[in-house]
Symmetry: C2
Amino acid sequence: MTITEMAERILAGDRRALARAITLVESGRADHRAQATELLETLRPCGRQGLRIGLSGTPGVGKSTFIESFGMMLTALGLRVAVLAVDPSSARSGGSILGDKTRMERLSRDKNAFIRPSPSQSHLGGVARRTREAVALCEASGFDVILIETVGVGQSETVVAEISDLFNLLMAPAGGDELQGVKRGIMEIADMILVNKADGELKPVATRTQADYAGALRLLRKRPQDPEGFPKAMSVSALEENGLSTAWEEMQTLTNWRREQGHFDRRRAEQARYWFEEEVRQTLLAQLTTPGPVKDRMQALGGQVATGQTTPSAAAQEILKTLGMESG
Amino acid sequence: MTITEMAERILAGDRRALARAITLVESGRADHRAQATELLETLRPCGRQGLRIGLSGTPGVGKSTFIESFGMMLTALGLRVAVLAVDPSSARSGGSILGDKTRMERLSRDKNAFIRPSPSQSHLGGVARRTREAVALCEASGFDVILIETVGVGQSETVVAEISDLFNLLMAPAGGDELQGVKRGIMEIADMILVNKADGELKPVATRTQADYAGALRLLRKRPQDPEGFPKAMSVSALEENGLSTAWEEMQTLTNWRREQGHFDRRRAEQARYWFEEEVRQTLLAQLTTPGPVKDRMQALGGQVATGQTTPSAAAQEILKTLGMESG
């Protein structure tokens, strides 16, 4: 299949072509990278946009159940839904949080849904690019909503937030002490906090937790990209499929307001610029850690510096000369 | 003065030569940099070591008074004391926290003390290198103790901790709420917490604050580089010169233990390696932000990426090609 054919099939909504294209952007091979860049450049002018919804939640919070119930509700509304994952652990273990689709059995059989497991990748920078590019492919393929999920370890929440139009936190019902444990930086990038498991015995705890988060959100500084009442905390039950359509309505309210006010396009423009700069930075630094003569020289000189045989600056200048640079 | 002459004079303890050498390592000019590297390489084999004591404290905590009293006590013991400053604000404003020596009038007149104001620098990476190299010059010049102070904004505490053998936090007497406001990461890199102003009306508050910090330090995970009882919280009065010699004894106890256990040398080796790697990284990234054609192209392409005229990856590849690299 040529790149032109692949592009045409993606635009026609061919799922197999989409899956192959995502495999292409995931590849580390130089020729695949060149093809991926060509494919994305071919698709760029189509101008199709989906709503990119980031979703973070720790294990046990019911993320899979939520995505399945929420996704099924969206496809029932006639929307096409893609699910992608950013898995920080895959960078180390090669494992995958969406390794099998059995986690979302109903949704994976839905012809209006497309679920893509997280690939194994060498570093989070690579995961970010792959996810960004997979999002672009899903949009070109006509998906209306792209759910991007992460377990929220380390920097992965920031990566997902920098790819998404909306960033939601899925939380478990919890006592006041646990609430304090939420990283402050994460609260500040959340657009909505959804307290899951508002069902059965946990319902009163969930309601209280939601009120606690709502209070905590009110204490944060107002952001220009939020209308009155946002960021918002809500309680939902993915299991009983309660509160999901209300959550979707709130997401649409927020999105429509941001579109009208220009925040939506501005955020996308800033994100694109950020990823461009980040890719340049990461590639420059990757020269030092990619197996090969530069990495070997770094390690040898590091040893000499540690034992006092040379100074840090002299050693740095030697490496920079190897890379064709003068030290600043 | 040739580099060889400068090196000889520094080794002989000539203060004027030391001051000129520090000016040399602070310079951004390429020829000065080459001379600085040569000078440091000439001095490296002398093997003189001082004790590098990092000191961080917010404005108003009495940092100048403490350094003056503590420094006078050390020179009275026959020790030679150098004071350097890492000023994160100078990177932006060109200002200086040690701009005039009037802050430490007595110490600046002491012939066994050497006070060097923080220079204006373009970025914290440059400040770090200049400080590291100034420390090496002071050691070659025979100083026994090098005090490195910072106001502790942003990353400057980490910079100072990565240059020091001991890292001390100077704190004001405070209530329980303020205590919680101490950044957890800072507590974890502190070797000693000194609660200043344990005099007059504040004395009981200082004692209570010291006990609070001691309790907080006990909750932290034990670090291999600490003997029993460290990190330690103490209260001192820089104004009344109380507790300073006890603090100095504790610092010596800690240092001697670390020397015996090998932690002292290991930390210096790790720090040297870190600064080598950091200098390479910072110089690589500085290509993108140094005024010139690459920075201009970054901005132009950033604009095109933001308006959707090209993709982040395609734009990144163009910059990397300009820099003689292939995108990964």
